[in-house]
């Protein structure tokens, strides 16, 4: 059975041991600065920093798979579209009559692609190195309702279980003669007889789970015990503030035209 939607990769690197908020702030700052910053130097610098952190965390290879399957086709598409039709295009780089590629468009495409790399790399770094339970526990310890923390944690496991249930219902309907493959119209017609059993099964499962949680004391008023201590040092707190400060610094830099 599918375990969950979490991308977390077990590890014991400094990134894994860092407080979830530190990793979260790092991710958000990296993304914000990559998109706000005015020049290549910032964008490439952030990308290199994040990739170094991925190497330290031992998750770079997983990111490489994502980069090749997701980012490469997007980059090629950007290069073609921007290189062909960007309004700022002036200098031909690849002459091909009406389909010539221009330097200005290509550079804009590459900058956009580099920003996307920063975005994806930072997001995946966070996902690979942060256990969802740790993030929920950190949020609860900072005041998030434990019930909402539970919803966050459980969604990652329950969604794949629901998808497996859909697959089982589909198999059962196929065994009864329902056509679920082929033309679009055939597949669309198959949707209706699948919808009712999926919805009903989900509602029943939800009710049963709610009862089981109640029986175990879920939602008891009063202090829920802190599950475990998430190490958080003064150094990490200072680092978080410094990372946050980078964002307005990037804004100022852009306004003043600093490169």
């Amino acid at each position: 059975m599918a375990r969950g939607l979490s991308l977390y990769v077990e590890g014991d690197s400094p990134l894994h041991r860092a407080h979830p908020f530190t990793k979260g702030v790092l991710t958000l700052s990296a993304i914000a600065v990559a998109f706000i910053a005015p020049s290549w130097a910032w964008v490439v610098g952030i990308g290199l920093l994040v990739i170094c952190l991925q190497l330290i965390a031992g998750v770079f290879r997983r990111f490489l798979v994502v980069a090749i399957t997701l980012l490469a086709p997007i980059t090629v598409l950007l290069l073609i579209v921007q290189g062909l039709v960007n309004p700022a295009n002036r200098t031909v780089v690849v002459p091909a009559g009406g389909f010539s590629l221009y330097r200005e468009g290509l550079l804009i495409a590459l900058l956009t692609a580099a920003r996307l790399v920063d975005l994806i790399a930072a997001t995946f770094l966070f996902s690979f190195a942060t256990r969802p339970q740790d993030l929920a526990e950190a949020l609860i310890q900072k005041g998030l309702s434990p019930r909402i923390g539970y919803v966050v944690q459980s969604a990652l496991q329950i969604i794949p279980q629901t998808l497996e249930m859909v697959s089982r219902i589909q198999d059962a309907q196929r065994a009864r003669g329902l056509e679920t493959e082929g033309r679009l119209l055939t597949r669309a017609r198959a949707f209706i007889p699948l919808l009712l059993p999926v919805v009903l099964s989900s509602l029943v499962a939800t009710q049963e789970r709610a009862m089981a949680l109640d029986v175990r004391g879920f939602g008891l008023p009063g202090a829920r015990r802190q599950r475990y201590v998430l190490p958080d040092s003064v150094g990490q707190r200072v680092l978080r503030w410094a990372l946050v400060a980078l964002v307005p610094a990037a804004v100022v830099s852009r306004i003043l035209g600093w490169r």
Binding site: A2, R3, Q161, A205, G217, F218
Partner: protein, 277 residues
């Protein structure tokens, strides 16, 4: 000194919200400490509802209308919330998968879910988790992901998640219905061990042979009423029980062989009965 019953119902009637008829239509029974009561009956007899009433899910979770007197450990179930009762009463459901919290990645953490919500200190939680896993023979799987377990193991995990609170009364709503024979045997052995150590058990079960072999007392329900209550041999000799619920295999065999009632309901009793005959 009068010993208070663990579970006491006096002329209890319960109707689910929006239901036309009562699911429990005038049930009176008491369960004493240390008893193991098997509850049998056809579909819609009120068996699961009896468990929900004892746990307080009816009416706190389902709403509906409850009349009569219903106390668990002397406390009216209408006056105590389900979560508050969870330190003394546990309810095991049929489906092993929907009893998982879905928020824990290790078996030991799953078992610790309940005590954490009760605010127990960390060292006490650790002791209780170890104890609960030992009781259900899942110690070796403490670090596994819950979704890597088989159906039978998951049901034992669900049971451990209740036992960690050290309940004095265990309610079981068809706990083996989704288990294979090996899983069923493993779970029933655990329950037998719990009963020997003093836990009061009320078990709804369709496997009549298991009920007859394990439960010194059987309560048969039909249409929301008690139609028989007593030792298994006496209950299964009641024609009303045979008509509504059926007989364990050994009793059917003995009846078919022409033996007079009360028919044997366990393999040991059947062996003796056939030797005598």
């Amino acid at each position: 000194m009068e010993v208070r019953p663990v579970l006491a119902l006096r002329d209890v009637r319960y109707r689910y919200a929006d239901a036309e008829r009562e699911a429990i239509a005038g049930v009176s029974l008491t369960v004493s400490a240390g008893e193991w009561v098997g509850v049998i009956g056809p579909t819609n007899a009120g068996k699961s509802t009896l468990c929900y009433l004892a746990m307080g899910l009816a009416p706190h979770f389902f709403g509906g209308r409850l009349r009569g007197e219903l106390t668990v450990f002397g406390v009216d179930t209408r006056r105590q919330k389900v979560a508050e009762r969870s330190t003394r009463v546990g309810l095991l459901f049929q489906n092993p998968f929907t009893q998982l919290s879905g928020a824990r990645e290790r078996v030991s953490e799953e078992v610790a879910f309940g005590p954490e919500w009760h605010g127990l200190p960390a060292d006490e939680v650790a002791v209780r988790v170890g104890e609960a896993l030992r009781l259900v023979d899942l110690e070796a799987l403490a670090e596994r992901h819950p979704l890597d377990l088989s159906g039978g193991q998951l049901q034992r995990l669900a049971l451990a998640s209740l036992l960690v609170m050290r309940p004095e009364l265990l309610l079981l709503d068809e706990p083996t219905s989704q288990l294979d024979p090996a899983g069923t045997n493993a779970l029933l052995q655990v329950l037998a061990g719990l009963h020997r150590s003093g836990t009061t058990i009320v078990m709804v079960e369709q496997k009549l042979e298991a009920v007859a072999a394990l439960c010194p007392r059987v309560v048969a329900l039909a249409d929301g009423r008690v139609i028989a209550d007593g030792p298994p041999e006496a209950v299964f000799a009641d024609p009303a029980v045979e008509e509504s619920t059926g007989l364990p295999a050994y009793a059917r065999l003995a009846k078919a062989a022409g033996l007079p009632p009360p028919w044997p309901v366990t393999v040991e009793a059947a062996e003796k009965a056939f030797h005598r005959a």
